[in-house]
Amino acid sequence: MKAEVPLLRCRGIGKRFGGVRALEDVGFDLDRGEVLALAGDNGAGKSTLIKIISGVYHADEGEVLFDGARMEFDNPRAARDAGIETIYQDLALADNLDVGANVFLGREPETRFLGLLPRVDRRRMRAAAHEVLETLEIDIPPSKLTEPVRNLSGGQRQAVAIGRAIFWKARLLIMDEPTAALGVPEQRKVRELVHRLRAQGVAIIFISHNLQDIMAVADRILVLRRGRKVGELPRAEATGDEIVRLMVGG
């Protein structure tokens, strides 16, 4: 199901930090239900690019069109409200809070205590957390739902972060090294999750150093080197060697 306008279109994105050019003239399109891998060496500009799309940074040049409309996010909240959710490798969760509190972090529902005083609705948070984990077929024992998420495994925590994005109806999900801190079986689980989300029509951008990951889940691969786009190829035409060659140049 291909709409006329792509869900996300970046055109001529440029960003400087002082005298350093972090990004220069980067552009690409992304459709609903498509998975784009961002590859590149350290300092290639991957993080800067996703931070611009997710509203953390503001691009100095170029424009981001989301759903056909030019987006001027000046903070991550605005991007989230528009349906762009970002999952950072370590920064996603408050370890001292439970699953429900993390799913609703920053957007906690309230009830009225005695019909007067605002009060965080923990019961609703817990129920919603349970529900979203169930729809994603993520298995976390109910007893763990009320414990701080630091008691969960790395894969479960990653799943909670993804679950949060889905609960908030993310249309574009950005993942920064989603499998970096995980053991092999948990990496596989996260890849399965990505496939399931794509099937539901969510567009996904993910950064990875892991070629296996890239080849396993990406539809397309965009390679950055020193802030410039040096290649964009469908997975079917890509080989590991070629991606590495583009990443390091030469």
């Binding site: 953390v56 903070n75 991550p76 909240r77 989230r80 970002t86 950072y88 370590d90 920064l91 996603a92 969760l93 408050a94 370890d95 001292n96 809070l97 509190a101 972090l105 920053g106 957007r107 906690e108 309230e110 205590f113 005083l117 605002p118 009060r119 965080v120 994603l136 077929e137 993520i138 298995d139 976390i140 701080p148 630091r150 008691n151 969960l152 495994s153 790395g154 894969g155 479960q156 799943a159 053991g183 079986p185 948990e186 689980k189 399965e192």
Partner: protein, 346 residues
């Protein structure tokens, strides 16, 4: 079946967490409070043939004793949960006490009720200023909390003494005296006011989004930022709350003694931090409760009052409170170990 956990990770977690130990680590302030009471009760009965606990005068004295460090500790709890610290509270309290006395002194001719209201209002508002500056330093100018509030410790101290003219500022006002020494249903009014503040703070911390965000910032500041929480504004407010609590303590000091003194809260800074830590908060942020801080303040007050009561040299108080602080931090550390992995860097 999506089975996300690996069996190895699961084993590590389960092995590290003995439910009984975890429970003991969480509930130890209550046990300790209980043991203290049993200890002093036994001693009082054996040595003097009187009760320590079931004695209205003792209970009242301990409550009055605990009120000021507890008030400082309430705001401190918010700040510490969010990963900060406020070293200026003692002298902010003194500043508020002096300002209140000064205002009321200069209004000596007007209606005493009016003078009291004006004193309360002005002193409370003035006490928020150092909090606002602390918050701005920490949240906007990124000064480490320890340094920024240490600077304010000096500034508030100097300002307090300057405003007081280097001495205590006496006030003669029957309403003020009533506020500090009167009773409501047999409970001293300063204690009543402290209880009301405790209830309000407990509600804010445990029930509201503001409280939830305070924990989130202390648990993982970056995650809070990414979640769209206005961390700067929130941090600013935390220091204003802390200063406001210190301000209330200052008001009650002036009321109790019918005089304002810049050094009113000088010895209370460490007691306030101790109350928070004994109550189970981590100085690394992310955990702590108002109830815990209340228990912590009571433990300190009971040790201090109880040792005097059983005629131990007063200097032992410092040793005893010091040991309790160290033990509570040790327990906190082992609790981290008991509940699994170490805390992430925020």
């Amino acid at each position: 079946m999506a089975q996300l956990r690996t069996s190895r990770a699961l084993h590590e977690q389960e092995a590290a967490r003995h439910p009984v130990l975890v429970f003991l680590a969480a509930a130890w302030p209550w046990f300790f409070l209980f043991l203290l009471l049993v200890f002093f009760e036994t001693w009082a009965r054996l040595a003097y043939g009187v009760s320590f606990v079931f004695n209205g005068f003792n209970a009242q004295s301990i409550a009055l004793f605990a009120a000021a460090p507890l008030l400082l500790g309430l705001g401190q709890t918010f700040v510490i949960i969010a990963g900060g610290i406020d070293l200026s509270v003692g002298f902010v309290m003194g500043l508020a006490a002096v300002i209140m006395a000064r205002v009321m002194q200069s209004l000596a001719g007007v209606d005493p009720g009016l003078a009291l209201a004006a004193g309360i209002l002005v002193a409370f508002l003035v006490s928020l200023i150092p909090g606002w500056i602390n918050g701005t330093l920490v949240s906007r100018l990124r000064v480490p909390a320890f340094i920024g509030t240490l600077g304010m410790y000096g500034v508030a101290r100097g300002t307090g003494f300057l405003a007081a003219g280097g001495t205590t500022v006496p006030v003669n006002n029957p309403w003020l005296f009533e506020m500090g020494n009167g009773k409501l249903l047999g409970v001293p009014i300063p204690v009543v006011i402290t209880i009301l503040v405790v209830i309000a703070m407990h509600y804010v911390l445990s029930q509201t989004r503001f409280g939830q965000h305070t924990y989130a910032i202390g648990g993982n500041r970056a995650a809070a930022l990414r979640a769209g929480i206005n961390v700067r504004r929130h941090t600013l407010l935390l220091y204003v709350i802390s200063a406001g609590c210190a301000g209330i303590a200052g008001l009650l000091y002036t009321a109790r003694f019918s005089a304002g003194a810049a050094q009113a809260g000088e010895p209370l800074l460490l007691d306030s931090i101790a109350a928070v830590v004994i109550g189970g908060a981590s100085l690394f942020g992310g955990s702590g409760t108002i109830i815990g801080t209340v228990i912590g303040a009571l433990i300190i007050a009971i040790i201090q009052y109880g040792l005097v009561f059983i005629d131990v040299e007063p200097f032992w108080q410092f040793v005893a409170v010091g040991i309790v602080i160290i033990v509570s931090v040790l327990i906190d550390q082992s609790r981290e170990r008991l509940t699994g992995e170490a805390k992430d860097e925020g």
